[in-house]
Symmetry: C2
Subunit: 411 residues, 2 copies
Amino acid sequence: MKAFGEILTLEEALDRYLSVVRPRPRGEEVAPLERALDRVCSADVRAGEDLPPFHRSTVDGYAVRSQDLLHASPRDPVGLQLVGAVRMGERTEVRVEPGQCARVPTGGMVPAGADAVVMQEHTRVDGESVYVLRPVPPGENVLHQGEDARRGEVVIPRGTRLRPQELGLLAGLGVVDVPCYLPPRVAVFSTGDELVPPDHQPRPGQIRDMNAYTLTAQVARLGAVPRFGGILPDQAGAVEAALRDAMRTADVVLASGGSSVGTLDVLGEVVPRLGDPGVVVHGVAIKPGKPTILAFCDGRVVVGLPGHPVSAMVVFDLLVRPVLEAMLGLRPELRGPRTVPANLVAPLVAPQDRDEFVRVRVRWQEDVLAAEPVLGKSGMITTMTRADGYVRVPMGTRVEAGTQVQVRLFD
Amino acid sequence: MKAFGEILTLEEALDRYLSVVRPRPRGEEVAPLERALDRVCSADVRAGEDLPPFHRSTVDGYAVRSQDLLHASPRDPVGLQLVGAVRMGERTEVRVEPGQCARVPTGGMVPAGADAVVMQEHTRVDGESVYVLRPVPPGENVLHQGEDARRGEVVIPRGTRLRPQELGLLAGLGVVDVPCYLPPRVAVFSTGDELVPPDHQPRPGQIRDMNAYTLTAQVARLGAVPRFGGILPDQAGAVEAALRDAMRTADVVLASGGSSVGTLDVLGEVVPRLGDPGVVVHGVAIKPGKPTILAFCDGRVVVGLPGHPVSAMVVFDLLVRPVLEAMLGLRPELRGPRTVPANLVAPLVAPQDRDEFVRVRVRWQEDVLAAEPVLGKSGMITTMTRADGYVRVPMGTRVEAGTQVQVRLFD
């Protein structure tokens, strides 16, 4: 293990930070099904009953006994006696005996005695007789009771983010009160004497704050709850007061600004005072994003992010997102960005001492995805708006054009 | 062109439908930047000024004239006279003449006369002299005025969905009122005598409605505005009254239920009465989802979806989503699901007369993505909850294991 204060790799930094913070959800609540989209469920959801609750036909046709039709063919159809029709939404009293059949609609209950449904396209009807033109295996065109979900079975494991299909399954099982984790509350600050809000006209030397918008949007996209706390001056007293105040109601405090030595000093001076154990990681061997402070102060996650909007976004994705996803309660296999394989179309070189994260545009070229590096200095926010994701280039390595790389896609 | 009433392929159906509907946004509004995440901007956004508005240093170091340092080296450093320090957020009056330099923080204004910044790590300071250990090319460590965005340049084209980075760029340019398309309003109905709401206990033959939840969630995920109109009985009068009422306030009306012949009759009977030109497509050669009605009635998009939750979700994605994305105003290249290349791990066979859409799970195996078909009958909603996306198998073809396929990822 590296000594404290040494520059850590991304994985070392993250491992050390997660082992100190041990992030987990702050609690649970019950969400109504109507508002559960994209929430993370906090308990294994078991089917309280079989789904479907009865044998259902998956086609329009005739419920039959497959044994009757072993030798059916177009040249030698088997005639069955039509003994009734199943009505949608009702229990059927019909019973299919040998040599009989019953009309059944898609979604209708398969009557007792029948073990399969013949599609109507494969029959000819003549009065009370239905001629079947082909054999059917047992179970054909039937969704059996409990085949979709069996009573008692875990159908949605704890830590699942609820997509439209999970909501549908919950509805089908009658789960209208959904146990969900409470999302972490994240306070976001921008620091820097050069910053003005976007609705201000900057004076010479000033610049409009972007991080308030990028970071709160990144937080919101994950499903956590952002609150922008404002722009703070490069002044230890003001920064400390604002961060301490935020720590009273937020689980996570993010303060960007700190690419400059002056600003870094402020966060580097203030953060250790905010509580124990304090600063866990200071500096990570990544480009962009080296001057990052990861701290844990009296139970609050406190992160000092670089001031460059691009660096702040990348550091958020690499180092803050894993913490938030654990606090959101997401299962480990559902964490992190989507990654896809792509062919690099131009060579990339990383510096000797840092892994570089290079923005790329991803496009289909014939049958393969191509990853084209976005040109422009790393401080340019337009390198992010022109990109679909980014590629990691390990420190001191050159990745040749034509190499297959993994692209971390933006959400 | 196929005759009206014939079963169309997916592309034929979609082309025909889009050419009749010609979907486009219903209007525009101005959204405050704070609430513009995931909205679609309705105008080309041009930079009103240069970004950055002045030459900015990207590092902590010394602003220099690169010409002075052509022969600098660790063995033979070039000494420069330190003539001042740039302060963050202020215009600097310092001017760097030949043989001089000025201290500048990351993000600070590069003073007049200087054309590059040397990182402080590459210098040694001795009183008023700064010794530089290496040459720097002109422009090194400087983000030039207008390099990120030049005044007048289109930085965000119309039809862009605003991600965190676009919000940051808008903030940087002072665009706090964002022109956005109004999202389409989508009414969703479930039809079928067998359906009960999820908080009801189904009687024998009944089943809980899932489509209300899956479809409204799919609509919401795209950024359109869903409203669930309720469960309708298989009764033409009731269905017609409800759909007509919804058409007064919705741009799109979706009615699921119609896998059964009885129900299809109701929608097939009602929809043509709702306005002109009426039904455009009835039946599409896809599995699942064949019994689909695409209609355009007095300026309203009206779609009859299959009742099976899985079929309804797939048809929504294949046939309704393209219409909604056009109505949302999304640029064509931003429409549709994310698709990724993956290696199929088991063979798939489609029927002779329909393209089949098979749910798959996607996992990294070594350096490639593997697509594993999800087992289970197509009517099972759990085939959707266990899947990450789906693969298209063209009608009458067999796709062998090991083939590279395109997976349409779920959002």
